[in-house]
Symmetry: C2
Subunit: 309 residues, 2 copies
C-alpha cells in the first residue's frame, strides 16, 4: 500500500467556452468535474499502474462530500480523508476552444484549525504503520503552520517509511528541512528555493538543504536526478506536444511506484519520464495515455554515472 | 403569497482576483456563494420588502442541495422547488480587483426530462391555488420545450393569477404568445423580440404579440410602461453609479409587489425604479441598499398619460 497526502484537496472543474473574453458573459458549453489536488492525481495514476493506494488529507463541506463520492467511484483507491469544518476548495480551468489555452482559477481552500491539524496528524501516523511509501503533495491550506510538511516528513522517517515531498515556495523551503527522501521540484520551484537557475548547481544546493535525493523536472528535457547513488538525466525520445496538466503528478507516481517496487534509479526515472510524456499526450487533462506509456517506456534515454563506492 | 418560478436555478459564485489575465493561473482571494437564478433573486427582494414568497423551479444534484440549504437560511422564503436528476448549474462571476470589471461564466444547467417537466407542472398548478401573483423568470434549462413559458402563462391565466414573464430570446418570443399580464424586457431583449430599437414602437409591437402590459427597462433612463390604462415613463432623480447586477430582478420585484398590493401603475413604477437604483448603489452585487431605496422612492419622476376611458 502506498499513501498519498493532499492537505488541500480540490474538486477540479473544467469549463469549455467558445472564446474567453474578459469582462463579458460566457455560456459554458461543457462542464467536467473530477476529484483533485496533487496527491489525489498521483493516487489515480498509481491505481492505474496496479498499485493499492490510500488517500489522506482534508475534506469538508458540500465540495468535500462531492470529492469523496467521486473518489469512491475510482477503483483501487482507499479514502482515508480527515474531516475539516470548512469547505474543500474548487479549482476552475477555463479552456478557450478557439486557442486551446487554459485560464486557471484556484480557490484558497478551507481554514484548518489547530484541533483539525492535530487530529489529522494522528490519522496520518496510524496510516504510516501499513504503507511502503508516502508522498506529500501540493499547497498548504490556510491556517496550517508553514512547517507542516517538515512535521509529516519527520513522522514518516520515524516510522521508517520512505517519503517524497512535492510542493513549492515556503512550504518546500521549510519541508525540506525535515530531510525527505525525495523532493521533485520543477525548474521554477528549484530556482525559487535555491536562487540558482543552473539545474546541476541547484539540485546540489537542494540536497544540502536536507533532501536525500532531488529529482528536478525540466519540462520537455525530462528529469535530472541527484541521488546519493549517482547522478542521472532521463529524457523522452522526442519532444511531446499536448496538455502538460498533471505531467508532474504522473512523474511523482512513477518515482513513488519505482520506490515501492525497489527499482534501481534508472528504471524509476524512465518510468517517471514515460508516464509524464504519456500524460501530456492524453486528450483528457491529467490522465495518461496507457498505450503511449508502454510505447515510450523502453525508449526513454537515461544517461549518468554511478558514484564511486 | 407571491410565487416566483426559476426553471434554471443556480448557485452563484463570485471570485475576486487581483487581476484577470487570460491563459494564466490565478489565486482567488475571496469566494462568496449565494442561491441564484432570476426568480430566486426576485424572491429575495420581495422577502426584504415584507412579502411572503414561495420559490419553485428545479433543483438537483450536490449544487441543488446547496441551493436549498442556502434558501432555507433566508427568512420569508418558502422552498417549493421540484427535483431534477441532473445537477443545478453554477454561475461564476470573476471580479478583477484592479478594474472592478466582471467576467461571467454560466453553466448551461441540467437536462430536464419530459417526466420531470410534467411533474413540475403539477406542482406549479397546485401552487397557483394559493398565490396572488406569479413571476416566471430567466432562461430555460436544456431539454424543456421552447414553448414552456407559454404553457405556464396559460395555466396562471386559467387559475386567475396575474403573471409576469421576464425572459429573453426564443423563450420570450414563444412565451409572450401565452398572453402574460406583464413582460419586462430590457432594451436589447425588446429589440431582439421586435426588430425595433425605438422603445415606444417596440413596446407597442410587444403588446400586439400578446403581452397585456410591457414594461421596458431602459438602463439609466428608467422604465417605459405601455399598459391598457396608459403610457408612463419613470426615471431615477439622477444617474446612479455602481454594479447593475440584479437591478432588473429588483425592478421585477417592485412591479410584482405593486401588482399584489393593487397599487396604481405610477406607484408600481416608482417602486420598481427606486429598487433598481438602490440595487445598483449597493456594495453587494444583487442586494439593494434599503436606506437608498427609501430616499429615492419619493424622488422618482413618473410622467405619462392615462388613456381616455
Amino acid at each position: 500500500m502506498i499513501l498519498t497526502v493532499t492537505l488541500n484537496t480540490a474538486v477540479d472543474i473544467t469549463y469549455r467556452v467558445p472564446a474567453l473574453r474578459p469582462h463579458t458573459s460566457h455560456r459554458v458549453t461543457e462542464v467536467t468535474e473530477r476529484p483533485g489536488g496533487k496527491g489525489v492525481n498521483v493516487a489515480r495514476v498509481l491505481a492505474a499502474l496496479g498499485h493499492e493506494v490510500t488517500v489522506t488529507g482534508f475534506a469538508g463541506g458540500t465540495t468535500g462530500g462531492e470529492l469523496r463520492d467521486r473518489l469512491a467511484a475510482l477503483p483501487g483507491i482507499v479514502d482515508a480523508l480527515a474531516p475539516v469544518a470548512g469547505a474543500t476548495r474548487r479549482t476552475v480551468a477555463v479552456v478557450d476552444e478557439r486557442t486551446g489555452d487554459t485560464t486557471q482559477l484556484n480557490e484558497p481552500g478551507p481554514v484548518v484549525t489547530a484541533a483539525e491539524w492535530t487530529a489529522f496528524q494522528k490519522t496520518y501516523e496510524d496510516l504510516l504503520g501499513s504503507v511502503s511509501a508516502v508522498a506529500l503533495c501540493g499547497s498548504l491550506p490556510p491556517g496550517l503552520p508553514v512547517g507542516a510538511y517538515a512535521a509529516l516528513v519527520r513522522a514518516a522517517r520515524a516510522a521508517g517509511v520512505p517519503v517524497l515531498l512535492d510542493t513549492s515556495g515556503e512550504a518546500l523551503r521549510r519541508g525540506i528541512a525535515g530531510r525527505p527522501d525525495i523532493v521533485k521540484p520543477n525548474a521554477d520551484e528549484l530556482a525559487e528555493l535555491t536562487g540558482s537557475h543552473d539545474p546541476l548547481r541547484a539540485t546540489q544546493d537542494a540536497r544540502r538543504r536536507g533532501a536525500r535525493t532531488v529529482v528536478a523536472s525540466l519540462g520537455a528535457e525530462g528529469l535530472l536526478a541527484h541521488t546519493p547513488e549517482g547522478l542521472w538525466r532521463a529524457a523522452p525520445p522526442a519532444r511531446v506536444h499536448g496538455n502538460p496538466t498533471g505531467a508532474g503528478d504522473s512523474a511523482v507516481a512513477g518515482l513513488l511506484s519505482g520506490l515501492a517496487e525497489r527499482l534501481p534509479w534508472p528504471d524509476r526515472l524512465a518510468r517517471a519520464v514515460a508516464l509524464s510524456a504519456a500524460t501530456v499526450l492524453s486528450p483528457v487533462a491529467g490522465e495518461f495515455d496507457h498505450p503511449a506509456y508502454e510505447r515510450l517506456l523502453p525508449r526513454v534515454a537515461v544517461t549518468g554515472e554511478v558514484n564511486a563506492a
